[in-house]
Symmetry: C2
Subunit: 410 residues, 2 copies
Amino acid sequence: MQIINADRLLTRIRDLGDIGRDPHGQLTRLAASDNDRAGRDCLLGWLKAAGLDVVVDRIGNIFGIWRDEHNVDAAPVMLGSHIDTVINAGVYDGCYGVLAALEVIETLKERAIAANRPIVVAAFTNEEGVRYAPDMLGSLVYVGGLSVEAALATVGTDGSVLGEELERIGYGGDVDPGFRTPHAYVELHIEQGPVLEREGFSIGAVENLQGISWQRITINGDANHAGTTPMAMRRDAGLAAARVGLFLREHIARSNAPSVATIGTMRYEPDAINVIPSRAIFTVDLRDPDEGRLQALEATLSDFLTRVGAEEAVEISVERLARFQPVDFDQGIVAAIEASANARGLKNRRMTSGAGHDAQMIARIAPTAMIFVPSRDGISHNPREHTEPDDLVAGANVLLDVVERMVGRG
Amino acid sequence: MQIINADRLLTRIRDLGDIGRDPHGQLTRLAASDNDRAGRDCLLGWLKAAGLDVVVDRIGNIFGIWRDEHNVDAAPVMLGSHIDTVINAGVYDGCYGVLAALEVIETLKERAIAANRPIVVAAFTNEEGVRYAPDMLGSLVYVGGLSVEAALATVGTDGSVLGEELERIGYGGDVDPGFRTPHAYVELHIEQGPVLEREGFSIGAVENLQGISWQRITINGDANHAGTTPMAMRRDAGLAAARVGLFLREHIARSNAPSVATIGTMRYEPDAINVIPSRAIFTVDLRDPDEGRLQALEATLSDFLTRVGAEEAVEISVERLARFQPVDFDQGIVAAIEASANARGLKNRRMTSGAGHDAQMIARIAPTAMIFVPSRDGISHNPREHTEPDDLVAGANVLLDVVERMVGRG
């Protein structure tokens, strides 16, 4: 049983995590920013030092390819994730998957494994979506879900144009995205949720990814005086909004489904201490790994809004913000992940990804799965993001096994 | 039975309401602003034209005094309200009480009534509290609840100092506030609530004023990922906050008390669509005309917060923002208001003021009561604030009767 070079992997995670910090030590490498360039330059140095062929496509996705004359025409096994970050980020989200992929390739290369397929480490552009929308943009373009031209023309939250920024930082490549359709894609990632840690698992074999439904809901009532309007004569948009979140939680608890519902944003108008809210504007984030259940949940919410509108004498309007269907990953790869974890004595479980990942895009064109390792307290997108070194190494070793099996001459 | 000059009153309300409008027609006369000066100048012109002695005290309260050599030493009957406004105001709040007081005095004066007491129309500074805190500042200073020096040093929301602004607009007088303790104080005001209109009354005989309890509540949970954190593993500050408002409404409905509870402001942190709120910050406005019941309501809220903290695994902290005890008005004046309304065939009821008014301050030093007239749809602090002309005239006639009875030689 092979093992990866733990020191090399952990050192690189730390080193990449040191790039893009402000004077207060906060880590931010937004897509196509100067800090992103510094991170990309660092990664490119490692890819080249490992003897990989480096390709950058037109949307700035970076690929490090290990191939030889015998396997150059075979569809490659692709591994990867992203190295752009959110604002004030942790060091593991994305970077761990990219650097573990590189580590796996180097380990196999050093062991002089004869791979029957090229192995590619990929770092996709703008996965986080903080600077440019949508998130997972680079992988979306790679699979043809968005044209390169449209993607390059994307205007960021800071008014910048993605294509111009990629040129500016030297990462507007000339290869068309999608230049190679992978034989398979495997993405190793921190869970970004509490399940593995709380339940005592080291490895998650991710078999699917939740569908996501985002809606913005506006409730209109009457802005009357808080002191002079008897409770029974009110049309309180805030209380109507309060019922929505509590209803969704109760409904999901009753349904015993793995659905999640979140009201993450809330705004009252006029937002004055002594005025009954005339308007409440909030978002609802619904997720479920099953499309049928997600649709049923959306319908249940819609029915409830009708009921609340009538009972509270308020007007309710709904705006759809985003909708992604659930993604089912490849059962063969999932089984290989489980087999590896079992062989290594790593406690593991099948699970659903609650977050979006580049893997969901690549799954459109190739058999795909993900490997999760525990996130302490489920925290991510935060400097407190942490995964134990043993777990980081274990995850990389499982990735190594899965890849070795895929490229073995059998 | 005397009647006031309806045309003169309604014209003055309209004329004063035309002062302080911006190019879009929005009416704003914040305390001690240029627009307030224009409103004050207009009022002073009318007071002088009516032959009243004008006095401005050090906090800018304006008094128009009708007195003669026979009654100059008797404690005056004081009538009034305020002429400062909120931002984008209606024309009735405050101004109606001041101009009706002037109208009553002119009517009595024209009829050559021999009053055994002076009658004073008062316009108190900064009742609304939009520019300077606290609200009802001028009447609070008048009764000695706040020193003139402290009040003049008040810094406004725009960084201005009240004393400097009063000097600047020419309304920093030299008479000490409280220079005359009234024999009685009567304030005529629009209801600013829906009760009179909905129940078909023309006159409210206001016998008390609700106590007010303002608190700011902060709930701290965990900002986890909306997709990856199962519902049962969440510490959602937003849902905990949602329970508070709904609980208060349900509790009040069960208690059958006239209490009101309002959550008028709400803020989530981090306020992101895909992040569970780690923090919810909101205000609670509780009111009840009975101090014991108000205290019980505060205790019930406190107990509920303890319960929610435990059940939702969140930390809750409470900050007290303001607390006013209920005020009981003078039963003799209330009875006189009822008697007048009945004599005039005006449908009337006793009621509680849900809003704060200068009358609650003057009640500390003199027998006080208020007269309410209906507000269409209960709307106030808004350009849609409206009271029917007949109701405005009826209220002023009731005020006339009450005053005539107080100053009659009997």
